[in-house]
Structures are given as structure tokens and as C-alpha cells.
Symmetry: C2
Subunit: 290 residues, 2 copies
């Protein structure tokens, strides 16, 4: 009853019935679930027919028929793909967008209802983030993004907030050497965000300099995503990007108040070096030749 496996299974039972309830509310719009799922996949930006089929795990025959019924209802239009006329691209018509919005409203209402029923919403959301991150860990994708994109700014905000909590003296961005966004764009550097579905759960910056090396900056992993070895994946991706950009030497600075970071660097081929800048926050400096 109380062993870990039972707890996981209790969780499974609880969410199974919640998921079933949401499916039921979708049926309320008088369309079989299969068609509703295709409509929603298109609404969420999946346009390539093969991609949708793959995402929903449908047979090509079935997929084709579902698309046909949506076309007959006037909700979807399909056209040949611009680069390859064998492939088909689906998009919503005006009516289709309206119908999609109705499904979105159902989903949102369900989520809002759930939140409204529960006090302690923040603790609950943090728990849901954690579970969702663990469930989708195989599907975390690392995307290179502009350091001023919404996703990147979210990560950086969380990162600064965490430093503020972790450092005894707090953390004030303006005192730190805040890297210029332009140094973290190709071809000088890059900025990588780890996305779990639509939620950014980690980031790392590669900042180009004119001093014969590039710096790793802003490595952050969301609390909900710790234990998934995401820090390592982000560092690997940053190194790979550096190699692509012809960078041979990497440096970084960190603080001993972040022991898990130091640990990661030490076990992945970085070696400690003397201070190489005058930023007030770091007290540990590393270098890696790649």
C-alpha cells in the first residue's frame, strides 16, 4: 500500500480517471474522439499529415479518413506540401479555428476548475511540473533560441531568482557581468533552451569573446527537472555548438554555493583554473579544451 510502486500505481489510477473525464468533455461537441484529436493536433500547429499521424499513432488509412471527415465538415483544408507534393499539409479553415477554440475553451475550463478547487495552487503546480517533466523526460528537446525570446527570458528570470535564494548575500543582476544577447547568437555563440512540451525547463548560454575562448554562461535546470541529467545534456549541446563554431577553448565561472554545478563540471572534463575575470559573484573558475 505504501511502497513506492503502489504510490505510482495510485497516481496512475487517479490520472486515468481524470484523463477519461476530459475525453468525455471533448465528446460533448458531437464529434468522435479520433476526429477531435486530429483537429486539435492541427490547431496546435502540427500541419504535416505524416507528423500528425505519427504523433497520434494512427494508421495512414484511418488518418486519411479522419481528415476527410474534417474536410467535409468544412473545418480543415489540405494542400500539397510546397517542397514535396506527395506530402500533404493540413490547416484549419475559419470555421475550423472557431471549433478548435471551443475545444481549447473546454480544456482551459477544465484546468481552471481544477486550479479553483485546490488551494495551495503553487505547491500543486510545482508538483505537476515535476511529474510532467519526469514523464516526458525522453521527449525533452534542446532548441537553440534567441537569448531575448520569451522562453529564454523566462529561464534567465528563474535563474536569477534562484541565485538570489542560494547566495547568502543575494544576487543583483546589474552587478554581475550580464552577457550581451548579441554574444550569445550565432555565429559568436548561442543560447540553448531545454523544452519539455511547451515548458522551458533549463537553459545554457555559449558566449563568444574576442579573447581566444568562449564562455559557458547561465546554466540552469528547473527544480522540477532535477535528477533527469539535464544539466549534462545542456552542457553537451553547448560544447557541440562550440565545436561547430570552431571554438577550441571554453571557460566558465561559478560559485561554491552551487555544489551540484561544480560537481558536474569536475566529472565532465573541466579543470579548475585561476580567476580570469573580476565579476563579484563567482569564486570558482574552470576551463575545458574541446
Amino acid at each position: 500500500m505504501l511502497d513506492p510502486v503502489s504510490r505510482v500505481r495510485r497516481f496512475n489510477r487517479a490520472v486515468t480517471s481524470a484523463v477519461g473525464a476530459l475525453d468525455n468533455s471533448f465528446l460533448g461537441r458531437g464529434r468522435p474522439l479520433g476526429a477531435a484529436r486530429v483537429l486539435n493536433a492541427i490547431g496546435h500547429g502540427r500541419s504535416d499529415v505524416a507528423e500528425i499521424r505519427d504523433y497520434l499513432g494512427l494508421d495512414s488509412g484511418l488518418m486519411s479518413r479522419l481528415l476527410r471527415t474534417l474536410e467535409d465538415e468544412g473545418l480543415v483544408e489540405t494542400t500539397a506540401h510546397a517542397d514535396d507534393a506527395r506530402r500533404r499539409v493540413a490547416k484549419l479553415t475559419r470555421t475550423g479555428r472557431r471549433e478548435f477554440a471551443a475545444y481549447e475553451a473546454l480544456s482551459n475550463a477544465q484546468a481552471e476548475g481544477f486550479l479553483a478547487r485546490n488551494a495551495q495552487a503553487e505547491a500543486l503546480l510545482a508538483a505537476m511540473d515535476m511529474v510532467a517533466s519526469a514523464l516526458t523526460r525522453e521527449r525533452v528537446v534542446l532548441d537553440e533560441m534567441d537569448p531575448q525570446s520569451e522562453e529564454a527570458r523566462y529561464c534567465l528570470g528563474e535563474y536569477y531568482a534562484e541565485l538570489g535564494r542560494r547566495f547568502k548575500q543575494g544576487f543583483d543582476v546589474s552587478l554581475s557581468r550580464d552577457p550581451d544577447a548579441k554574444d550569445m547568437r550565432r555565429p559568436r555563440g548561442t543560447f540553448i533552451v531545454a523544452m519539455s512540451d511547451t515548458l522551458p525547463i533549463g537553459c545554457v548560454g555559449l558566449k563568444g569573446t574576442d579573447r581566444g575562448y568562449a564562455e559557458i554562461k547561465r546554466l540552469w535546470v528547473a527544480p522540477a527537472a532535477r535528477g533527469l541529467r539535464l544539466g549534462r545534456r545542456l552542457m553537451d549541446a553547448a560544447e557541440a555548438a562550440a565545436r561547430e563554431l570552431g571554438i577550441a577553448l571554453l571557460r566558465l565561472d561559478t560559485n561554491s554555493a552551487l555544489p551540484e554545478a561544480g560537481q558536474l563540471y569536475r566529472t565532465t572534463g573541466w579543470r579548475e583554473i585561476p580567476r580570469f575575470n573580476d565579476d563579484p559573484y563567482p569564486d570558482l573558475f574552470f576551463e575545458k579544451r574541446i
Copy 2:
């Protein structure tokens, strides 16, 4: 993307696909999901056909046919109910138990695999408990149980551990007036456990005395279940039980290090009274006439 509703919806998507994967592994045993579900419901102790039908939300015709296919496979036997021959009772045959065990093994393997893939298992399990409790809050049932049952002892263990964390000086059960189990059994008193599915998530004891009042003891709500107003429900149930037992006056002691408890008592008709025992831990005393 980052608003609460989106986070809930991301969670929904994550668990939807996890649930789908488990359903798929069930299909691997060559039996449609409907039949597998009935078999598993019986295996988990639901024997009454009407109860299973209700639990799974099936039409009586469909239920009947699913039972027939399981009987034809030799997995299930149905007999008339001892008290009412209209009702049917299903039980697994020897082969049925073996088949049920195979499904259990699949579920367990899935859960174990999930746990094995994730470090930080305890944090993750706590998060899953919290989410599951929130999802099933309408289905929390309060059961009177023996204070020495496994469920009760689990609750008490968690309760003591929490006091140890909350009290500056720690908490040692042996120093406290640990109520005798026999005082928390009918007809002197009772012990109530809040069960969410198979997990105990809260408890309260009603301890009979020979001093003209009964005491409320061991009110505990699992961290994962806070915010569900469970404390209030437990107290209401304890009062109702006291009334049933002809008890007119209730007392309890608590500690100001547990502010949410004091808050609950004050808002539910309890009034503070002078110390009425010499237990070293409490510093607040309440009374309520019912």
C-alpha cells in the same frame, strides 16, 4: 505557456500519453481493454457484478457480454449472490488469477521502470501523492479503523515524524501521553483514517476517558493532502462519532508551533481553556460542547 492553466494542460498531455502507453502494454496480452479492465477489477477484489459495472461505467448489456467472454476463456466464474440470487458474484478461477497476476506484473514493471529512470524518487513520489490527492479529493473516504491497523500506524508514524520536525525541541512519543489503543475503539472512542484510494492521507482519534469528556487526539493531514479541507472533514467526522457515542463534551490539546491546527479549532466552535493535563508538549488547550 507559463501561466497556471498552461502548466496544468502540459501535465494533462504528459499523463495522457503515459496512460495510453500503459493501456497499450495491457493490449499486449491479446485481450481487448474492456475485458482486461473487468478482469482486473475482479482481481482487485470487486466481486459484485453491479459494483464492477458501476466502477467501470459500463452498460449492463456490455458488462454481461464481457463477463461471458472471460468465462469462455476460463478466467472467471460467476455465481448467484448468497443473499440475493438476482445479483451475480464474479471470482477468478485459478487460470484467472494467473492472468491477473500477469497484468499486475505489467503494472508493477511500468511503475518500477518509471521509478528506476528517475533519481530523486522521494521528491517525485511526494509530488505524485500530492497530485493524486488533489485529483481524487472528491473520492476521499473516511473510514473508522482500528488504531493498531496498518493504515493507522502509518498515519501515526508520519504524525510523530512531523511533530519531530516542527517542535524546536523535537518530539519523543514516550514522553507524551500516548493514548491507549483501547480508548480509541468503540464504544469508548474511535479512530478515523482518511483514505484516498489505497493511501492513508489523514487521521484523527477520539479517545474516551472516565472524566466526563472525550479527547480529540492525533489529528494529522498528509503534506500531500493539505489544502483539501481534510482537517475539517476529519474533525466533523470525529464529532459525529462522539455524538453517536453519547459524548457531550470534547477537549483537546495542541501546540502553538502548529498554527494551522489552532486556527482550525478556533474557527469551528472550540474555545480555549486552561491546561487540563501535564503532558509536556502541548501549550494550548481547547474545549467544545457538542
